[in-house]
């Protein structure tokens, strides 16, 4: 189904929106960059440039040199911001503690999120970064950009901000690092009115929803992650911009259990594509894999000779639930036992494909360690259809929010609340029946305590009589 935006999309043409000339953008030669020293001594940071990977220090120095060469009227905040930022970071390395303060009253009018106040606690030494606020920009679904838009945002940020940005923050936003309070409203105007973008979530808000590349580029996607992400971002605009949650809340969308956005570890509510029929098997292509006519793993890991493809060693024996077998050269899968690990499909993508009766699983409660330790998500809905207008999904989300807003303490994430109340109580509240898929070893783990009214016939049990035979 072709994508239909909720409102007409602006077409950005860099040639019309650009601020800087090519000469200004390409003002630094490699030679100059090599010999460039910023105004502060930063020995520890320079050490970071010696590793095998590209370093943010090298990028920041390039930006510092670039800003030195721009004319005064070609940027609206201090020329030295990047150099001062690096200088302060060196001091933080020396002291073993940060010199950034955060929070306060910065923001754009009417929005409760998207701008994070950032202040230096060494403003005398580093005056240009005394105010150095962060702006989050809501990324498009799957982070598919048009280069005209990216260049336009880069120019705008060079002009009104530090020129430093982070693609992308953990939430998924495009993160613009460092500007002054006076520039916040003009930047917001440029982003929203001129470029048709929006700022992302921060604070006690719904954070910017984020999704994998989905059906746009991936054959494994079991539902249209981009469409669901876009729909929920639009539908929950109020939750995204006007905070009333106990704490942050993240929605992430993975099209299949490969989990390219790692929703299971990073979001309070994780949507993972799955299927409820059988893995589709093309037996002829399985034979071609065995014969070595098709390269396994879609050609990945081809840097060295791994020997002939061995379907037992590389696929069947690695199946975590041992649900696969090869009988008379025919691959069989006991789909009831399949745990959707995706390994066989990843190794033989031409022969195996996810089933056709598609939908998603919903997992709740993942979080990074802030108040309590890190938590992985718990599977709550084993299967749900995911088709527009997604009313079933919205209904579920709102039920969970209702419970969390009602019961959650200030700064308590959903995962912590679930842990505090216990899974049985949580399920009862949101009105879902317990299912074996919710826990790892359902046959051994009696995580649901039955109530007498739930069991046909009830029971007669005298605890005191039981205790005469079984000491506590």
């Amino acid at each position: 189904m072709p994508f239909e935006p909720n409102e007409p999309q602006k077409e950005i043409k860099y040639e019309e929106t650009r601020i800087y000339t090519d000469a200004e953008l390409n003002s630094c030669s490699d030679e100059e960059l090599k010999n460039f020293k910023i105004k502060h001594q930063i020995p520890d940071l320079e050490e970071l440039e010696n590793g095998p990977w590209p370093s943010f220090v090298a990028d920041a120095k390039q930006e510092a040199l670039h800003r030195r060469k721009l004319a005064d009227e070609r940027m609206l905040i201090d020329r030295d911001v990047v150099e001062d930022m690096l200088g302060q970071l060196q001091v933080s390395f020396d002291d073993g503690e940060t010199h950034w303060k955060h929070g306060g009253i910065v923001g754009v009018f009417g929005y409760g999120g998207g701008v994070i106040g950032r202040y230096s606690d060494l403003p005398e030494r580093y005056p240009s970064i005394a105010h150095f606020h962060t702006i989050r920009v809501n990324q498009p679904a799957s982070k598919f950009y048009n280069s005209d838009l990216l260049r336009t945002i880069c120019d705008m940020w060079e002009y009104r901000g530090s020129g430093l940005m982070n693609l992308h923050g953990s939430t998924g936003d495009l993160v613009l690092l460092g500007t002054t309070t006076e520039q916040l409203e003009p930047i917001f105007f440029e982003l929203t009115h001129v470029l048709g973008q929006d700022i992302g979530g921060s604070g006690s808000n719904l954070r910017t929803p984020s999704c994998c590349i989905g059906r746009a580029r991936c054959e494994f996607a079991c539902y249209d992650t981009q469409n669901l992400c876009y729909e929920l971002t639009q539908y929950y605009q109020d939750e995204l911009h006007r905070p009333a949650f106990p704490y942050k809340f993240k929605l992430k969308f993975d099209g299949c259990p490969n989990g390219c956005v790692a929703s299971m570890a990073r979001s309070d509510m994780s949507f993972i594509g799955t299927w409820r029929d059988s893995i589709r098997i093309d037996q002829d292509t399985v034979k071609a894999y065995i014969a070595g006519d098709v390269v396994p793993n879609g050609g990945a890991h081809m840097g060295r000779d791994w020997g002939k493809f061995d379907i037992h060693k590389e696929v069947i024996d690695l199946c975590p639930t041992k649900c696969m077998s090869l009988v008379d050269d025919e691959l069989r899968i006991d789909n009831q036992e399949c745990t959707r690990c995706m390994h066989c499909i990843n190794v033989m993508p031409k022969a195996l494909k996810p089933g056709k009766d598609n939908g998603l699983s919903i997992l709740l409660g993942a979080k990074a360690p802030i108040l309590e330790g890190a938590q992985m998500a718990t599977l709550i809905v084993p299967f749900m259809k995911a088709e527009p207008p997604y009313d079933n999904i919205k209904e579920f989300i709102e039920k969970v929010w209702e419970f969390w807003i009602e019961e959650g303490k200030n700064r308590e994430r959903l995962g912590e609340l679930m842990q505090r109340t216990g899974l049985p109580k949580f399920l009862e509240t949101i009105g879902l029946p317990p299912a074996p898929q919710m826990i790892k070893t359902p046959r051994e783990n009696p995580y649901i305590l039955w109530k007498e009214e739930d069991v046909p016939g009830g029971w007669n049990r005298n605890v005191n009589e039981y205790r005469t035979r079984h000491k506590r």
């Binding site: 303060k101 955060h102 929070g103 306060g104 009253i105 910065v106 923001g107 009417g110 929005y111 409760g112 999120g113 701008v115 994070i116 106040g117 202040y119 403003p123 105010h131 309070t181 921060s202 604070g203 006690s204 808000n205 006007r242 905070p243 009333a244 949650f245 106990p246 704490y247 942050k248 802030i370 807003i405 009602e406 959650g408 303490k409 200030n410 700064r411």
Partner: protein, 77 residues
């Protein structure tokens, strides 16, 4: 809506604190008006923000509400 706004402002003016979690505002409003729904209280808060009576205050990771001009304003220096 106007009644809710009045309750919120009264609570914010009389409280010892100057910044409030939404949940604390909600509890305070429901003490006076038990029928007030969370969504209505949120809308009243949003209206107060848009009027300029209240402001958002961010701790960096969570968001609070406060009366404009009361307690810490502008940058935390």
């Amino acid at each position: 809506m106007d009644e809710l706004k009045k309750i919120i402002v009264e609570f914010a003016e009389t409280s010892k604190k100057t910044k409030f979690y939404f949940k604390d505002i909600e509890k305070a409003v429901q003490k006076v008006n038990p029928d007030a729904k969370m969504r209505e209280i949120k809308n009243a808060c949003t209206a107060l923000i848009n009027e300029g009576t209240m402001i958002y205050f961010s701790t960096g990771s969570s968001t609070m509400y406060g009366l404009k001009g009361k307690g810490m304003m502008e940058d935390p220096e």
